[in-house]
């Protein structure tokens, strides 16, 4: 493994400034994704060889989890996945998020891996992760998944690059209507709903979200759940309880009113280059009392837009099943 420079920071401003001035600098939190990438030697025209790691775990209070019944939940981006998974506030008020955090990776990785890292991790596409393939995401000029082995690639919204978004927590956060507080390169701060946080290859194939060099995800804010809210998180994977990235996962939040769906959010990961909000399914169940038939009809409709490739057609049925189960679970 190569040698890298390592700097501890004590404030978000300091970290953002350090990152903004050096394109070969990257923030490190748990490091479970970043160190692997550096070790593997992933680089390309569009992926610098990181030489300067700016540690943001050392910023005081960056891992705090606070809940107020009036305002909802605030999670420091540096909170570990295991602290989320085990937080009583999270378990009680946002069980889907607790389950999503607990479904990610292995206990070891959850103990060091952070929420921010889980949200901002790079994709798992095996072409991207393989130094032999100079793909679009590394600044190359080809997507090998389009004509190669694509069993674990996108069935929805793929264009140019067919990665799937790997995060388990991201769909839960979108389903819960969460927002990101971003410490910006210029020293400022802004709040962006997670609905518009993730970006696809059309916006910039080299990134998966709106963060630019020097921008850092500082905090995640989730509004307090409305009365009558039910939620669910499900994950399908190749290995049982052991850590694995999702074949597909889903978070569903349903707000019930008078025995009907008043509002809902259904978000999948592992099916599209960004977490995929199944708005078609949401519209299909709005105003309905949920039954297996209603859920199935919504799922079928949501997947009409699917564009599977050579090896991933199975994901269409898988996504439908997950939508059905998730709606039923959130409704129950």
């Amino acid at each position: 493994m190569r040698t890298v420079k390592y700097t501890k920071t004590t404030s978000w401003k300091q970290a953002s400034a350090a990152l903004a001035k050096d394109p070969k600098a990257l923030a490190i939190a748990g490091g479970s994704d970043l160190l692997g990438m550096i070790k593997e030697g992933l680089e390309g025209k569009g992926l610098p060889r990181y030489e300067n790691l700016i540690d943001i775990r050392t910023i005081a209070g960056s891992d705090a989890i606070t809940f107020k019944a009036s305002d909802g939940l605030t999670i420091g981006a540096l909170a570990t996945l295991s602290s989320l998974e085990n937080s009583d506030d999270v378990k009680k008020n946002y069980p889907a998020l607790a389950r999503a955090a607990g479904a990610a990776a292995s206990p070891n990785i959850r103990n060091s891996g952070t929420l921010g890292g889980n949200i901002n991790q790079r994709p798992r596409c095996w072409y991207y992760r393989n130094t032999e393939f100079d793909c679009y995401k590394k600044g190359g000029e080809f997507c090998f998944a389009v004509t190669g082995s694509n069993a674990y690639h996108a069935i929805l919204n793929g264009e140019l690059c067919y990665i799937v978004h790997p995060s388990d927590t991201a769909p839960a956060l979108i389903a819960l209507g969460a927002s990101a507080v971003i410490s910006m390169a210029d020293g400022g701060e802004k709040t962006v709903p997670f609905d518009s946080y993730f970006t696809g290859p059309r916006v910039d194939v080299l990134r998966e979200n709106i963060l630019k060099q020097g921008d850092l995800l500082k905090e995640v804010r989730i509004p307090a759940p409305k009365a009558g809210t039910g939620m669910s998180f499900l994950k399908a994977q190749r290995r049982g309880e052991t850590y694995d990235f999702a074949l597909a996962n889903i978070a569903t939040v349903i707000v019930k009113k008078d025995g009907k769906v008043d509002d809902s959010r259904i978000v999948l990961s592992g099916v599209a280059p960004t977490p995929y909000r199944a708005t078609v399914a949401e519209e299909a169940i709005k105003g309905q009392a949920i039954t297996a038939q209603v859920a199935q009809a919504a799922a079928d409709k949501a997947l009409l837009q699917a564009r599977p490739m050579t090896d991933n057609a199975y994901k269409v049925g898988l996504a439908k099943s997950l939508i059905v189960r998730s709606i039923l679970e959130a409704w129950a």
């Binding site: 190569r2 992760r129 393939f133 190749r238 199975y314």
Partner: protein, 826 residues
């Protein structure tokens, strides 16, 4: 494979053990009786029939044992006996606590580190290479390229890489990081050449040649074919014909200890520390390739952390480190990382096969026909007979016509992996048997019990040295409760909204674990009566060391804890042919047994001399005590084994003369013939499939193996448990994948090459074995390591069919494939 009689090898029927090889000391009729060898000889001479032996041994078998999840292993051992007693491996604690030293833990002062440059293309010619920048990089001590290595079928560094990842050049540097940086500075230009990945394509006349020097891509000439009877006639007689097409995958062994070598030269002696299954194989291979005498290469290993078939013989990393060490005059180390291993170590080859089976309505099988293709990689020639091992033997089939085609392909190197051949072959065979049973609406167990052939190996036309297949099936069915749990062939629609359960079973024949010697071993009795066993063979984690200790202790008559097995070192032990093919117990164990008996006899000769007896026939050695058989209470004729060891003699010209020093017992055991030697077993599994996600959970595993006889039941259970875990991986997750357009491996890492973790083991595992007492193995024992892998995958395949009504004919049976099969059916 059946041992063919060969003139040089020993033949029991015609002769006497001693007459063919003076080193084979089987003089003591007493010892023979003790170990059961005498009875085998009587059978061979026709004085007793194998049936008598089986009858005797059936009586010996199972002493009221009724194992549940944790069998009470102590019930199986005779009082006072070492063999058969559950014994925890002496190193188990060290291994679990991380204290154990493996070969990869070898660090020498002044050692350099290696990194290689690998071909990015599956087939190319290196048109130019410039290493000057790499050589100038600070900390780099040597760079070698394909120009610096000896010629070989597969040269350690290649000018014409024939698979993506083949090494081109290597760097030795002060640190691994420097070596890695320097490799990136090697300037190399390639001229891409056409490549072929699929063996079916490779064998077409117009296919690209895997290496430009090849005239054709056929890896064998002639290819494997086997016929008996008349297949066409057999299918004409059949009332029902079923067909299958299966595909399995490239699998890596994924030993916990990565492949490794540290090479160092002392003048003209090359020493290589390496994790190996066969130190002499490694040493001799290196010597041959470097053109130096075998005596100039010393290979030694600490514990080897798993091999599974991929750490035998010479590998490029041995040659590369040896050359770099020579060039730099310093020790050179190379520990392959996981990516190196996935790209460049051996792999199990996938099988692409079609087969059909003809049956009559009463369940009689009339004919089998099949064709298989395997990609052998660019240099290997993989066996195809093993792919058909189980299909051609397990069941009575009068008419058979099968063929296996092995092709060179521009894919990863292939090597043996745990039950190579049989593993894929059983997946194919049992798939066929299940379909036949389904077509006939028969209970799959009944169908198998009706058709198994246990007396004669139909291919070799020889009787089996032991065959406990029927007993294994019956015992397994009993443990699993098959009769009540098999609900018949469900035809109705499956409820796809919730997980479904299913059961499946399998029977198999395997040639691993059954190999007889040749085998050489040396057993020394030290001056204090303690024992050193020198096999030159390795304990690669399967508990072989404990088994050999137990065999030696039992044969000599000393306590187990006084026996030690020498570390693997080509300068210390004789060539034991290595630990592969599950040879540890039966082959190496036989050598240890005979060498121990030889040492014991030499020890007792000294005692006889001291007691002024004309021979050793009236002397017994038991539990470390020597006494007269005819007068055990007479204190004048008693001594400890230590006193006996001190009373050494050597017999020259039939005259015993006192001689101090270590007693050396030795044996060179030839191959045995006249019998077909195989292992057998059965598996019964219950699984649960979630039809929505395609996820399979194994709920219960029952495996019953014919092990001949259990030497160490503890180790045996461990091995079967390991086989179950490994087999579940094979069934459900393991596959190395190519990007077909570029010929590059896409998942050379443990993130995308999925291995299940311990949680995939079923909550309920029942392991048992039957002991038909093999006619050849030491104390009747056979091997278990590889056969233990065979039941899971075909059983799970059958259970998925039972649960959700689809056969998933590609291994591994991933969620994607299960969902695709379900979608296709719907």
């Amino acid at each position: 494979m059946a041992e063919k009689t060969n003139a040089a090898s020993f033949n029991y029927v015609q002769g006497d053990l001693v007459s063919t090889d003076p080193l084979l000391l089987e003089r003591d009729a007493h010892s023979r009786e003790r170990t059961g060898v005498a009875q085998i000889e009587r059978v061979m001479r026709g004085e007793e029939t194998p049936a008598d032996v089986v009858a005797d041994r059936t009586a010996l078998r199972r002493r009221g044992v009724n194992p549940t999840v944790q069998p009470d292993l102590s019930l199986r051992v005779a009082p006072g006996s070492v063999v058969g007693k559950p014994t925890i491996d002496g190193r188990a604690r060290d291994k679990i606590t991380g204290r154990a030293q493996y070969s990869v833990d070898t660090y020498l002062p002044g050692m350099l580190w290696t990194k290689v440059l690998r071909s990015p293309m599956p087939h190319a010619k290196v048109s130019s290479i410039d290493t000057t920048k790499a050589e100038a990089y600070p900390g780099v001590k040597a760079v070698i390229t394909y120009k610096d290595v000896p010629k070989a079928t597969r040269a350690a560094l290649s000018a014409e890489p024939a698979f993506a990842g083949e090494p081109i050049a290597a760097v030795a540097a002060e640190t691994a990081a420097i070596a890695e940086e320097a490799v990136a500075l090697i300037d190399v230009k390639y001229e891409p050449l056409p490549f072929v990945l699929d063996p079916r394509e490779a064998l077409k006349a117009a296919a690209a040649k895997v290496r430009t020097t090849l005239a054709a891509n056929a890896a064998r000439s002639p290819q494997f074919t086997y016929t008996r009877g008349d297949a066409a006639k057999g299918f004409a007689e059949a009332e029902v014909t079923v067909e299958v097409q299966v595909e399995t995958s490239f699998e890596q062994h994924v030993a916990m200890e990565p492949h490794n070598a540290v090479a160092v030269w002392d003048r003209d002696l090359l020493t290589i520390y390496t994790g190996t299954q066969w130190a002499h194989g490694t040493a001799n291979g290196v010597a041959a390739e470097l053109g130096i005498p075998q005596s100039s290469v010393r290979v030694l290993a600490k514990d080897t952390g798993g091999g599974w078939g991929d750490k035998t013989g010479r590998h490029p990393y041995h040659i590369i480190t040896a050359l770099l060490a020579k060039k730099t005059g310093r020790p050179v180390r190379w520990e392959l990382n996981r990516k190196d291993i996935f790209l460049d170590a051996g792999h199990n080859y996938p099988l692409f096969a079609t087969a059909k089976l003809g049956v009559k309505k009463d369940g009689t099988i009339t004919a089998l026909e099949g064709t298989s293709y395997v990609p052998s990689g660019a240099y290997g020639a993989r066996a195809n007979s093993d792919d058909w091992e189980s299909a051609t033997r397990t069941y009575k089939i009068p008419n058979v016509k099968v063929g296996g085609f092995s092709a060179y392909t521009n894919t990863v190197d292939t090597s043996a992996l745990r039950s190579v051949g049989e593993a894929s072959g059983t997946f194919l065979t049992e798939n066929l048997m299940n379909r036949a049973a389904e077509a006939l609406n028969m209970d799959p167990l009944e169908f198998r019990l009706k058709n198994i052939e246990t007396a004669v190996d139909q291919v070799a036309n020889l009787p089996y040295s032991s065959n406990g297949l029927r007993e294994s099936l019956e015992r397994g069915a009993e443990l699993f409760g098959w009769k009540s749990r098999w609900k018949g062939w469900q035809k109705g629609p499956v409820d796809l909204t919730k997980p479904q359960r299913g059961v499946g079973m399998v029977a198999f024949t395997c040639n691993k674990g059954a190999n007889s010697p040749p085998m050489t071993a040396i057993v020394q009795i030290q001056g204090d009566g303690s024992v050193v066993v020198n096999t030159g063979a390795a304990d690669i984690g399967g508990g072989q060391r404990t088994v050999w200790s137990m065999i030696a202790a039992e044969a000599i008559g000393v306590a187990l804890d006084t026996v030690k097995i020498n570390a693997m070192d080509t300068q210390a032990g004789p060539d034991a042919l290595g630990i592969f093919g599950s040879r540890g117990t039966k082959s190496v164990g036989t050598g240890v047994l005979y060498a121990a008996l030889n040492a014991r006899e030499k020890l007792l000769q000294g005692v006889a001399f001291k007691w002024k007896l004309s021979n050793t026939s009236d002397i017994e050695l038991k539990e470390g005590k020597v006494f007269r058989k005819s007068d055990p209470a007479n204190t004048a004729f008693q001594m400890t084994v230590a006193e006996a060891a001190a009373a050494g003699v050597v017999i020259i010209d039939d005259v015993p003369r006192p001689a101090a020093g270590t007693i050396v017992g030795e044996a060179r055991v030839p191959a045995f013939s006249g019998y077909s030697q195989k292992t057998f077993g059965a598996g019964f599994y219950e699984i649960e499939v979630d039809p929505a996600t395609g996820f399979v959970r194994v709920l219960e595993a029952v495996q019953v193996h014919d092990v001949g006889r259990a030497i160490n039941p503890t180790g045996l259970v461990n091995q079967i448990h390991g086989g179950i875990m490994h087999g579940i991986n094979k069934a459900l997750t393991e596959e190395l994948l190519y990007d077909p357009p570029t010929g590059i491996v896409v998942n050379p890492n443990l993130d995308d090459y999925k291995l299940h973790m311990i949680d995939a083991l079923p909550a309920k595992i029942q392991v048992d074995w039957v002991e038909p007492y093999d006619l050849i193995g030491p104390f009747g024992a056979k091997g278990i390591g590889e056969p233990a892998l065979l039941p899971p995958s075909p059983s799970i395949h059958a259970a998925i069919r039972d649960a959700v009504g689809v056969y998933v004919n590609q291994q591994p049976m991933t969620p994607a494939r299960i969902l695709n099969a379900l979608a296709k059916k719907a």
